[in-house]
């Protein structure tokens, strides 16, 4: 494992466009990592509640209910 200083030296040797591409990639991977951690937490909670393996139809029904509830509240007929 390289030290931070070593890595920084390697990066400064890159062309500006390569540095930008590297920063973009790091941002994308950070997002992916954060989302994976959130997914694990979400799945663990659903498993505790016995909902992780709920049929898709049940998930759809809940999503539709939530959608209509918010829309009816925000845009009453």
């Amino acid at each position: 494992m390289q030290s931070i200083d070593d890595l920084a030296n390697v990066i400064t040797e890159l062309e500006p466009s390569e540095q930008q591409a590297l920063l973009d990639k790091v941002a994308q991977l950070n997002f992916k990592k954060g989302l994976h951690e959130l997914a694990e937490k979400f799945r663990a909670r659903l498993a505790r509640e016995g909902l992780l393996n709920a049929p898709s139809e049940q998930v759809w029904a809940e999503l539709h209910r939530i959608r209509q509830q918010i829309a009816e509240h925000d845009y009453p007929a």
């Binding site: 591409a21 941002a27 989302l35 539709h64 925000d74």
Partner: protein, 145 residues
Amino acid sequence: MTIPPERWLLDTNVWVFGLRRDKAFPACAQLLDRVGSFSVVIPLQVLKELNLALTEDEMRNFYSVINQCSEFIELSWQPAAIELVKFYEERGCRKGDAVIAAHAEALGIGFLVSENRQFLQTLKGLPVEIVTAGEAQIRLATTLS
């Protein structure tokens, strides 16, 4: 940051099925993994729905992840205009779906990703193009190649 040119709206079901890693909708998780190679806008209706689908702690995590990626994820807190909601309702969308379509049009998003079959059918021929997560991946592959 090089801002990705494509700016997409991911419907709530894409976020939820993706985070669940739902086996019936594997393309949702795969698409979420590609965020950054396209930009995402999350409108108010989706934020409100996620707020009910996730716990307070999960939602805090969600915002924490999103806020680190403001270069390619944009949160929009603007309510959808009622006239646009009515426009889409009159064209067959259920009210909640009409709100999402109205957000997409108001935010200048031409590309909406959803697994909602009814939504997919009713929006044909309208300004907002709607595709499934699987179709979005194909488009992404074409765009990036």
